[in-house]
């Protein structure tokens, strides 16, 4: 079985940042592996370690800088990686549909049995890419998966899905399938020192638009960012710290101040 894991390098900001036009200043951004994807990688690598997957391929859409992030997936145990990028991609805002175009092209070439994605990306948080990809490539799918057992012989993934309101659903999904992975599915490992060493020699194949059979017009997204601003905070939240005793004391104090009487 071949597993394809999509990973994204996401931009993170600290408390202080500047907005330049419709973007956050580049100097205020730090890049890291999307948290959800870390769990997806772990799931893929464990399938390989359990002898279920023969190959785990990491796939990203990102500029050269994102190789740092994808190399972390290789250090954790993915066998090789594919990175799709093109100047034309850099020039437009990538909406879900466009991402799916790009991912679909790689899926067609790689022919995986299982695609693992994160539930969402920490930066633009659409939470749609995995499911939209499944629809496009005609795979079964399960979203927000927080438990996974794969029966390779039967070709069935037994998954637990986290739904709204604390409801959980147990489902069987026939492979080939796309699963969008929720944090908490597993405990992602640290890349081992040996893994880091080996990752330097693993392949990261880069593909531009021509390589995946698309043209710059195809990545012209339907979405544009029209403005970027920091919302005003309307009230303050207090986070009560300390042990149960202290916390209870402080809580009582706040309630009393607000006029709650026993």
């Amino acid at each position: 079985m071949k597993v394809l894991v999509t990973v994204k390098e996401v931009a993170e900001v600290g408390d202080d940042f500047a907005i330049e036009g419709t973007e956050i200043a580049e100097s205020d951004l730090e890049y890291d592996l999307n948290e959800w994807d870390d769990y997806a990688i772990e799931a893929g690598v464990r399938l390989a370690e359990d002898g279920i997957a023969d190959e785990v391929v990491a796939l990203t859409i990102g500029p050269e800088r994102s190789e740092e992030t994808i190399r972390m997936a290789l250090a954790k145990g993915a066998d090789r990686a594919v990175r799709v990028w093109d100047d034309a991609i850099a020039d437009s805002f990538l909406d879900v549909d466009t991402k799916v175009d790009l991912l679909e092209a790689v899926v067609d070439e790689e022919e995986p049995d299982l695609v693992l994605t994160g539930v969402q990306a920490a930066d633009d948080a659409f939470g749609a890419t995995g499911v939209a990809l499944a629809e496009r490539i005609g795979f079964e799918h399960a979203a927000v998966v927080n438990d996974l057992e794969l029966d390779a012989d039967a070709g069935v993934a037994n998954v637990r899905r986290e739904l709204e309101g604390g409801v959980e659903e147990l489902t069987e999904v026939d492979v080939p399938a796309v699963l969008t992975v929720q944090t908490g599915l597993n405990e992602p490992r640290y890349a081992s020192l040996r893994g880091i060493r080996q990752a330097q020699r693993k392949e990261i194949a880069t593909k531009d638009l021509a390589d995946v059979g698309l043209s710059p017009d195809d990545v012209e997204g339907a979405l544009t960012v029209t403005s970027m601003y920091e919302p005003e905070s309307e009230s303050d939240a207090e986070i009560i710290e300390g042990d149960a005793d202290e916390a209870a004391g402080r809580l009582a104090e706040v309630l009393r101040e607000k006029g709650v009487e026993a």
């Binding site: 740092e68 190399r71 972390m72 250090a75 490992r189 640290y190 890349a191 081992s192 020192l193 040996r194 880091i196 060493r197 990752a199 330097q200």
Partner: protein, 386 residues
Amino acid sequence: MDFDLTDEQKQLREEVRRFADNEIRPIASEHDREESYPYEVVEKAAEMGLIAPHVPVEYGGVGYSAIENAIIIEELFAVDPGIGLCISGAGFGAEAIMEFGTEEQKEEVLPAVTSGESLLGSAISEPQAGSDVTSIATRAEKDGDEWVLNGSKMWITNGTVGDYFVVLCETDPEIEDRYSGYSQILVEADRDGFEAEKITGKMGVRASDTAEVYLDDVRVPEENLVGQRGMGFLQLMQFFDETRTAIAAQGVGIAKGATERALEYAQEREQFDRPISDFQAIKHKLAEMRTNTEAARWLTYCSAWSVDADPDRATALASMAKEFASRIAVEAADEAVQIHGGAGYVDDHDVERLYRDAKITQIYEGTTEIQKNIIARELLGDGIGV
């Protein structure tokens, strides 16, 4: 000349930092206060391959050089020197076995250490023998096909938690040459007559286990001799360049950790209606801390580089790096407390702990004074004495 780290080294640094932030930072204070050994995190570190990473791949290590070792140590010590020492010191003495041990010793000890199954220690110092290593009094005598050890060892890292110790002892007192007649012998902690007593009340690195070790007619098979009989002290000296570079990296880490915390606090704390980082006096402190850390780091990397690339220069460079980085660590921790004001004087801020931890780097693995003696000796070119 190129001052950039390789992609692999950068990735290594990033992942070790993530490990230290997530696994060590939350428990550092607790282990410091309780003087307790952090078994769990040492086990996790072993899983990641952080223990004795310089051991060759065939014995379970990663085969890392002194530079990668320095990067790892720096990141661990920046978060917590106590637990950092537990991790980076879990394989103390491994060099001797790697370089001089028999195939059997390597196969028995090295994979056990890198996997975190066993802890190793290096027992050199004694109550009467610190800076002057050649004054050790622990004796090993041959009795049939066994060595019989008698004596006591002082300040031994991992003393009560360790499974194996490379013990420096005198085997051939009749040899007149000052540096010969000593041997390194591998001693298992479960041998009859081996006893270790934990030393409590340390000022810093309190998570690390330090003990006095008593050897009372401890018998080990003759195969436990590491390397050549009578050559123990000279064998030991061969690793000073590496081990001192490692202590220099500890100093760099502490200086970096102190600077980071001071920088953060200075931007948060307001007095006279502005962050204290607006005051030139504070700015200059931060600038100096940062500059000194950078200087210490590159001297340490240079020393690490010379271990493999230019061994003739390594002795002086390692002593310079160790002396300078440990001094910078103590100074930076001092200034970090100063920048925290009263808040830095109590243990709810990390800088209080770093201030106590920093001092050890000027003492172990050859004191500051000894390093200066070595640097001067190399300068003046007179023999190997201290």
